[in-house]
């Protein structure tokens, strides 16, 4: 990928079934630096990832996606990454979209690029309940962090080295998405949203966040905001 050091960070928890294809896709598209953070899976996630020659970091206790992202991002920084991609192990993100997210960063027009499910193409097969909860999420994020985004809960992001060094993730579990946005605002990082297509398969819907956990998530984000 244009000689720049791009690191793909994939937090994975019991994704042995899906991660193989994701890693294959990444390799086919020329991404060689892949860091898989195995968040104490009980299946063969780590073995599969190692088999695909990814760098595998293992959490000996399950710490959540936020913590896994931090582990992977810090490792990427240590290995000299210029750009770090946060990617999912379950196959719902498309590898071809990474290039689109990288473009504004390489052109030095942004420090953080978020993949949005609501710009341009419609999210394929997105469950209705998910649409509603994501709309509510936008309002909560705006109220808490003052950022009006088309998609506030996107886990698909590419950040440059400066952003990776500046964004401090302290939220272990799902609240990290909000926390990262707060950090972007606080550290005055330049943010751009780019349309991505997320493939909602039965597998990813079943593994994904249930909308019913939304209120608890909002409350946690509020508490964090108040206590900081």
């Amino acid at each position: 990928m244009t000689g720049k050091k791009v690191f793909i960070v994939i937090p994975a928890y019991n994704e042995a079934k899906a991660i193989s294809k994701v890693l294959d896709d990444l390799k086919k598209n020329g991404y060689r630096n892949i860091i898989v953070v195995d968040d104490c899976s009980s299946d063969d996630t780590a073995i599969v990832a190692r088999h695909h020659k990814a760098i595998v970091l293992k959490h000996i206790i399950n710490r959540g996606q936020g913590a896994a992202l931090k582990t992977g991002t810090d490792a990427g920084l240590n290995l000299g990454a210029e750009f770090i991609v946060h990617f999912d192990a379950d196959g719902q993100m498309r590898v071809v979209d990474i290039k689109k997210l990288l473009t504004p960063l390489i052109a030095k027009k942004a420090d953080v690029v978020l993949g949005s499910r609501f710009l341009g193409q419609k999210a394929k097969n997105m469950p209705f309940s998910k649409k509603i909860s994501l709309q509510l999420g936008r309002i909560v994020v705006f109220a808490l962090y003052g950022l009006w985004l088309s998609d506030s809960q996107s886990g698909f992001r590419v950040i440059n080295r400066k952003a990776a060094q500046n964004i401090k993730i302290t939220a272990d579990r799902m609240e990290h998405a909000g926390e990262i946005l707060g950090e972007i605002k606080k550290k005055k990082l330049r943010l751009v949203e780019v349309a991505v297509t997320i493939l909602y398969t039965d597998y990813s819907i079943q593994k994904g966040q249930s909308w019913s956990r939304g209120p608890a998530l909002g409350l946690k984000m509020l508490l964090r905001r108040l206590l900081k």
């Binding site: 970091l57 293992k58 206790i61 710490r63 582990t71 490792a75 206590l227």
Partner: protein, 112 residues
Amino acid sequence: MLQVYQIIVFIFALFALSRAILRAKESKITRGELYFWSLLWLGVLVLTFLPSFSDILADYAGIGRGADLLVYASVLLLFYLMFRLYVKIDKTEQEITKLVQKVAYENVKKKK
């Protein structure tokens, strides 16, 4: 005339006090915490056996009944203690995460 609730509260307060003192002896809680819990339970004992005392306090605070004052004060105290617990757990969780991350890095380094 002693009421049943007074006996129950008396026994429970003594039990709680003894626990606090024991924990302090084992240095599991600090001196400050021992004072806090001792004062709290002694206060409970005083109010149990001199209920009229709580009415005086309530009158002073501008609340109608002593029993109401007790409930308000208890709720406030509980909220405060819960807040402290929340902060403490959050900190502990972050420390565990740091440790887990460190172990993850060390293991990768060893393999190289």
